[in-house]
């Protein structure tokens, strides 16, 4: 497996993890009113968005590379 496929796989897992933890933090904030949770959620959701955008750019740069 090349870095191309492994990086996209890890990126996908990172997006899922960031979104899951970010949403859970927002739900905790809405339930308990803990502002710290909101402060944790915002950078994680922003990071998830950045990973998606980066993955698209990375894929375009490595279109010629083999998947394996």
């Amino acid at each position: 497996m090349s870095l191309k496929s492994f990086h996209l796989f890890v990126g996908l897992l990172s997006v899922v993890g960031c979104c899951a933890y970010g949403m859970w933090s927002i739900l905790t904030f809405l339930r308990d009113g803990d502002v710290t949770r909101l402060l944790l959620a915002v950078p994680l959701l922003a990071l998830a968005l950045a990973i998606i955008m980066n993955s698209v750019i990375f894929y375009k740069h490595t279109e010629e590379e083999p998947w394996l």
Binding site: F6, G11, F58
Partner: protein, 196 residues
């Protein structure tokens, strides 16, 4: 006589020597961390009570480490992809960004440990802390090695970039695979200790 498949791909495996070696190494690493995580799962399920990590560990520091680790994996991949460009793009910038993100992750783990030690929570306190110190300590050692090798490729290894660019790109790809593995391991660590 030069060694075959140093740069070119071997037709039957589809890999060059360094990538085959790196995957064998990662397989060994997966078994090492797999043993640690399965021991953790066994101890946790056998325990009568288990603390909730999100209530006793500094989750903010854990989130900072997660962001730094994910960014390090992202930067090294971009550094590798930029090497395919005729002018090598911003390869050197991505490599230094990887090093900085890695150092932030290492410092984050050190701060995390110091906070807990400062509160009198050491590995001997309970099984939770024993597992947490062991797994985060092992991961920190791995990140130190990854940062050191990234530094090596960025400084003395830059000669190889000029003299043998194909071999250099292969080395960066292998390093990138190792970084991706560390990101995966950290995500598992974060989920096990800081969330549940």
């Amino acid at each position: 006589m030069s060694m075959p498949y140093t740069n070119e791909v071997r037709p039957d495996t589809g890999l060059y020597n360094a990538k085959l070696g790196m995957w064998l190494f990662l397989a060994a690493e997966a078994m090492f961390f797999g043993a640690l995580f399965s021991s953790y799962a066994f101890l946790r399920t056998a325990a009568e009570s288990w603390p909730v990590g999100s209530e006793i560990l500094p989750v903010g520091v854990g989130v900072v480490i997660s962001i730094a680790m994910i960014l390090a994996g992202l930067f090294i991949a971009r550094g590798w992809s930029d090497l395919a460009k005729p002018d090598r793009g911003r390869h050197a910038t991505w490599m230094w960004a990887t090093i900085i993100a890695g150092i932030i992750a290492i410092l984050g783990i050190v701060v995390d440990h110091r906070i807990e030690v400062g509160q009198g929570m050491i590995a001997a306190t309970n099984t939770f802390y024993a597992c947490w110190y062991l797994i985060t300590g092992a991961l920190r050692a791995h990140v130190v090695v990854a940062v050191a090798y990234t530094l090596y490729l960025g400084l003395p290894g830059s000669d190889m970039r000029r003299n043998d660019p194909v071999r250099y790109r292969n080395r960066v790809e292998c390093l990138g695979l190792f970084w991706q593995f560390l990101v995966l391991t950290w995500l598992a660590t974060f989920a096990c200790f800081y969330v549940f």
